[in-house]
C-alpha cells in the first residue's frame, strides 16, 4: 500500500465533517511535538452556524476554534472525517481562542533586550541664555 504524504498547506483549510454529516468548519493551525514529530492536534475553525451548537462563544473579530486531537480523526481525503457527532464533539472538546492555543504551545524563549537609551534631548534655551555672559 502506498504511503500517503501530503503538504501541510493541503491539510489546512480542509473541511471537517462529522459522522452525522455536519460540516463543522475547517482545519486551522496544526500542532506538532518536535520530540517525535507526532502531530498532536489541530485547530478546528468552527463554522458560524455551529458556534452555538458546539457551545462556544461567538466572536465578532476573532475566529472561534476548537482543539481537535488527531486520534479523533477517522480519515483524511478531500475532507477530514471525525468520529462522533456534534453533541459528542461538544462534550469532548473545550473552546479556545487562537491566541490561547498559541500560548499553550511551546514557544522558544525570546531574548528581551533593554530598550535603547533615548537620546538626550537638549533643553531649549532662551535667547538670553545664548548670549555670552557679560563679565
Amino acid at each position: 500500500m502506498a504511503m500517503t504524504i501530503i503538504k501541510d498547506s493541503d491539510l489546512v483549510g480542509k473541511h471537517v465533517i462529522l459522522e452525522d454529516a455536519a460540516d463543522v468548519g475547517t482545519v486551522g493551525d496544526i500542532y506538532v511535538d518536535v520530540y517525535d514529530w507526532h502531530i498532536t492536534k489541530f485547530d478546528l475553525v468552527v463554522d458560524k452556524k455551529y458556534v452555538e451548537r458546539l457551545g462556544v462563544d461567538k466572536k465578532l473579530i476573532r475566529r472561534t476554534t476548537l482543539p481537535i486531537k488527531t486520534h479523533m480523526v477517522r480519515a483524511v481525503g478531500d475532507v477530514v472525517h471525525l468520529s462522533g457527532n456534534v453533541e459528542e464533539l461538544r462534550k469532548s472538546t473545550r473552546a479556545v481562542q487562537p491566541h490561547e492555543a498559541a500560548k499553550e504551545a511551546h514557544t522558544a524563549p525570546t531574548v528581551k533586550r533593554d530598550r535603547p537609551e533615548e537620546p538626550k534631548r537638549y533643553q531649549h534655551r532662551s535667547s538670553d541664555e545664548d548670549k555670552p555672559s557679560k563679565l
Partner: protein, 104 residues
C-alpha cells in the same frame, strides 16, 4: 513535550553542526494516517547551494527534503545533527532505505 505550531516552525533557519546555514523551512510533508511529520522542505541559500553542489535553478528556488531523523533540536532555529559535508554526501548518495535528506 515541546509542542509547536507548524506555522511557527516555518521560516526558521536551519544550521549544520559546523555552524553553517542550510536555509529556511518553507513547508512540511505530513503523513495523515500516522499523523507524523515525514520531512521538512528547506529552501537552500545560495551559499549552501554551492557547498552542497546542487544544480542552481533560475526559475524555482532550490529546495531539499530534510528528514526528521537528522534534526537535533528546534528552538529559535533548527539544528541538524550532521555537518555540511555529511549533508552533501547524503544528497549525493543513491536513495537509501531511510531517506534523511534528498533533492527535490
Amino acid at each position: 513535550m515541546a509542542e509547536f505550531r507548524l506555522v511557527d516552525i516555518k521560516g526558521k533557519r536551519v544550521f549544520t553542526t559546523d555552524g553553517l546555514t542550510v536555509g529556511q523551512v518553507v513547508r512540511f510533508e505530513l503523513d495523515p494516517v500516522q499523523w507524523k511529520v515525514r520531512s521538512l522542505v528547506v529552501k537552500v541559500t545560495d551559499t549552501a547551494v554551492t557547498s552542497l553542489e546542487l544544480k542552481k535553478s533560475l526559475i524555482t528556488s532550490n529546495e531539499i527534503l530534510v528528514g526528521k531523523d537528522i534534526i537535533k533540536s528546534v528552538g529559535d532555529v533548527l539544528n541538524l545533527n550532521v555537518s555540511m559535508d555529511m549533508l552533501k554526501a547524503q544528497l549525493a548518495a543513491p536513495t537509501s532505505k531511510k531517506t534523511v535528506v534528498s533533492k527535490r
